[in-house]
């Protein structure tokens, strides 16, 4: 069939002539008119043309918008993490260094942890110099506490506006009051679910936790020479004077549980114990209140004690500003 490759073989003049003899039929005039009218209508319909062009660009624009949104959200999350963690910089061993020996093969995870540590360091540098200076000793060595008057004298210093100020602090934390009010019942409850760590990391239960004495031991060792158990270090004097009624009651309960806390050095001031009885959030609220009342020194000292106790505690930016006061700006 080689001849079929010849294009002439695909043409037959006799067949073509016969076909052309069938005539040159054309569409009816009515159809001509309908088609031409439709073509003119389409040209006149300018907005439809614009709409079609919009539809043509709809998909690329949608994809670009999704990409931009994803990137901005990712950046925002990464930029907000230091804000959450910078209020109380972690003084303990760097996270990346902890992760390396445990999981050296998991390079991406280690890289992420290193990035987190770097962000934390950056945020730490953004803090005022005095705050950094106070944060450093807590990371390296416990601060010796000075002797102070009895914390019992502080109870009379509470004023009537205390509850109102506390409510303001709660508002600043954007935390529902009901949750804060419910804290006394859950004050000594175990640590919260891990899912909550992303926003606010709750520390382990304060006083009643069996693991606590080990963490508090260095504090006690540092303060032991000068602080008898019945007295209060000067660093917490103001706090003791400002301690709410429940703090005093908690101190009493803590004394009754001395069998559990006998591993804690007796040099830890009772006011510190009162603070320790508080939940971290209530402690921070107290620091914020001191800051607002202009008792900066007491606030700083209480904050230092808080940092020693909860070195990895993470708080929201609003609470951080309230706790750090002018030093945060």
């Amino acid at each position: 069939m080689a001849e079929h490759d010849d294009p002439d073989d695909l043409q037959d003049p006799r067949v073509s002539d016969a076909y052309r003899g069938l005539g040159k039929e054309n569409p009816p005039e009515a159809i001509d008119a309908a088609v031409l009218a439709a073509s003119r209508r389409a040209v006149r319909a300018g907005p439809r043309t614009a709409g079609a062009r919009v539809r043509r660009w709809a998909l690329p624009v949608s994809i670009a918008a999704v990409v931009v949104l994803t990137m901005s959200l990712t950046l925002r999350v990464q930029l907000e993490r230091p804000d959450l963690e910078s209020a109380v910089p972690a003084p303990s061993a760097p996270v990346a260094e902890q992760a390396r020996p445990a999981d050296e093969k998991d390079a991406p995870r280690v890289a992420a942890l290193e990035a987190k540590e770097e962000m934390r360091a950056t945020a730490k540098q953004n803090l005022p110099a005095d705050v950094r200076a106070k944060a450093k000793p807590t990371a390296k060595s416990p601060v010796a506490l000075e002797p102070a008057p009895s914390p019992r004298t502080a109870a009379s210093a509470r004023d009537a506006g205390e509850r109102e100020q506390s409510a303001l602090v709660r508002k600043a934390m954007k935390t529902p009051p009901a949750r804060t009010e419910a804290r006394p019942a859950a004050k000594r409850a175990p640590a919260p679910a891990p899912a909550a760590r992303g926003f606010v990391q709750e520390p382990p239960a304060p006083a009643s936790s069996p693991a606590e004495p080990g963490a508090a031991a260095p504090l006690g060792a540092a303060a032991a020479p000068s602080a008898p158990s019945a007295t209060r270090p000067d660093t917490a004097t103001g706090l003791a004077r400002q301690a709410p009624a429940e703090a005093a009651a908690s101190a009493g309960r803590a004394e009754s549980r001395m069998s559990v806390e006998d591993r804690v050095q007796e040099s830890v001031a009772k006011a510190d114990k009162a603070d320790a009885e508080l939940s971290p959030r209530e402690w921070l609220e107290r620091i914020a209140r001191l800051r607002r009342e202009g008792r900066t020194k007491e606030a700083d000292e209480s904050l230092a004690a808080f940092r020693r106790r909860y070195p990895d505690y993470v708080i929201a930016k609003e609470m951080r500003d309230a706790v750090l006061g002018d030093t945060a700006r």
Binding site: L10, D12, R14, K24, P27, R40
Partner: protein, 186 residues
Amino acid sequence: MEAADEQLMIAYRDGEAAAFETLYARHKGPLFRFVLRGVKERGQAEELFHDVWLRVIEARERYTPSARFTTWLYTIAHNRLVDHWRRRGLALTSLDTRDDPDDPPFEPAAAPQEEPQRRAELNEDLRRIKDAIEQLPPAQREVFLLREESGLSLPEIAEVAGIDVEAAKSRLRYALAKLREALDDG
């Protein structure tokens, strides 16, 4: 010098209604005959022909002169005819293998519906070629009509029909052989 089809279509796409009128006048006859002889019934042919041009109008914003306008126009017509044939239970494919010139003549699924008035106007040769075209398998008939009416080359016909060039050649050969045989029988 007449404007090329592609320039006219671009002008119409950009809002020049007169360009479409020129295009329509240029292509309406061949396209109508391609459709009319493809579906055999005049009413259906008119409906399909109208629909093809409406699709051209609707698709004007997507038109890009990457190929000949004629190829684009007849591709739209081909797709519309495929829809038509599918609704009638006919297919364009799997006919080439059994349509050897030595095989018995193809029997259409449906008997051709003659129009007595037109039929009387044709002389015997024309009636025979007309009957032979109607009895061609749709795939072969389409290739033959595209060759006769559109003036497209075989590669362009293959593009319109969605087949390769060799398949287009094969279909055209079978179609010519059957039409030649019909004329010789007279």
